[in-house]
Symmetry: C2
Amino acid sequence: MKTVGVVGLGLIGGSMALDLRRRGFASRVLGVEADSVAAEAALTIGLVDKVVSLQECVAEADIIVVAVPVGTAVKMVPEILDQLGDDKIVIDVCSTKEEICRAVKYHPRRKQFVSTHPMAGTEYSGPWAAQPGLFDGRACIFANAEESAPKAVKVIEQMYDVLNMRPIYMNAEQHDLHTAYVSHISHVTSFALALTVLDKEKDEKHIFDLASGGFSSTVRLAKSNPDMWVPILSQNRDNVLRVMDTYIEKMKEFRSAIDAYDEEKLRELILEANRIKKIIR
Amino acid sequence: MKTVGVVGLGLIGGSMALDLRRRGFASRVLGVEADSVAAEAALTIGLVDKVVSLQECVAEADIIVVAVPVGTAVKMVPEILDQLGDDKIVIDVCSTKEEICRAVKYHPRRKQFVSTHPMAGTEYSGPWAAQPGLFDGRACIFANAEESAPKAVKVIEQMYDVLNMRPIYMNAEQHDLHTAYVSHISHVTSFALALTVLDKEKDEKHIFDLASGGFSSTVRLAKSNPDMWVPILSQNRDNVLRVMDTYIEKMKEFRSAIDAYDEEKLRELILEANRIKKIIR
């Protein structure tokens, strides 16, 4: 059994801590958390056994999970590698992979780092958002796994197996392209939708009385935390911009069909969009 | 107890039929359905007691619920009113209200018509999508209720009370403006998102392997039926175009903040969008 250290006790770090101990992968979970309110909450909820300093965590844990926003992780992972003992492993769980993989590419301890992205989450954040079973049945990306030591990858595969995740292997570039399409753009469209309706609410106080389940589902991601999303959108800038451009094009196609009362075209666009039924539950 | 006739045995009509009988408001439910496969399914599932012709339905039912796409309803409601006996009531349940209210405004039997919009649904359609409890706890709009006979409105209020809906009263113009913001735009953004990702899937076969819960939730409405949505977007054209323009503006604000690596501005936009937390569960 391992001592696992989790740096950043938010939704993802907290949920991992919870299930890794409950399910017997970790004998002990140490937490590192810069925000003292969050640190105390994590202890009260029982996400971790102990809150420690980063130094202590690096010294004591066998596996260190870096679960902080990607802008911070890019600086923190090399620093942890600098002080890392042999046989220890560091992983990150960030939503963009190119920049973090680039930051450690030539680090002498690169092989002890495994870059992963467990594709799970909710629109909420903080230790109070942590939940058991969050990862069950979801995909976990291993980015540039060939740059890590095979035995380190194996340990982390076992760890995600305990979380009931299915591993997918790809390089960091592919990862960032794909997630721009199936995750990052969804957040941007939700943010824009929230802004659109909130703007109108200034004149029309009761506009949300009519909000139905469909609206809530489309706008849900607009609750997401800027601490997490600003660095993601920034680090994945080029891919995200490209997807946004396609998206804005599609919106304009709809706009001109509606504008021209072109019901034929509108029907065609909707039928084409309906193909998503075969892919997404 | 009443005989209720439901014209159009889809998601909405079928779900109403189900609960109105189960909960004892209707002693008998007659169904009218042009599609013979859907008609047979509705009988097999037990949504209605009998499938009849429109004439028979108008002759026998006390309350006639018109639950067909709004393009059809605009023609059908005046025709039903033409043949309607005294003391009978016709309602529609369409998602746009201006055009249908305009179509009957000067009809000699206008007072026997009540225009409503039960704000509930799913992305699925047809009698097989009908479900008990669909309307529970949702809002139901009564549009231009002052143009209907008070006693007709009262009966329909009782009917929606049985469906556990809370009534909201507004004029048809307000309704169409508000729903453009909290329903119609959500559908357009989902359709555009589906098209964007499906386009990319042509080159990147495995792009959907990474789709997480957030993506599914944002794209869910893209499964919606064109038979329903083409006429809605067409009838509510002016409002929808206006909302789309604001929305495209917001997307462009995001785009330029990302483009310029303006993390301050990005953070500000996301924090503003986060206000939706206080409004939507």
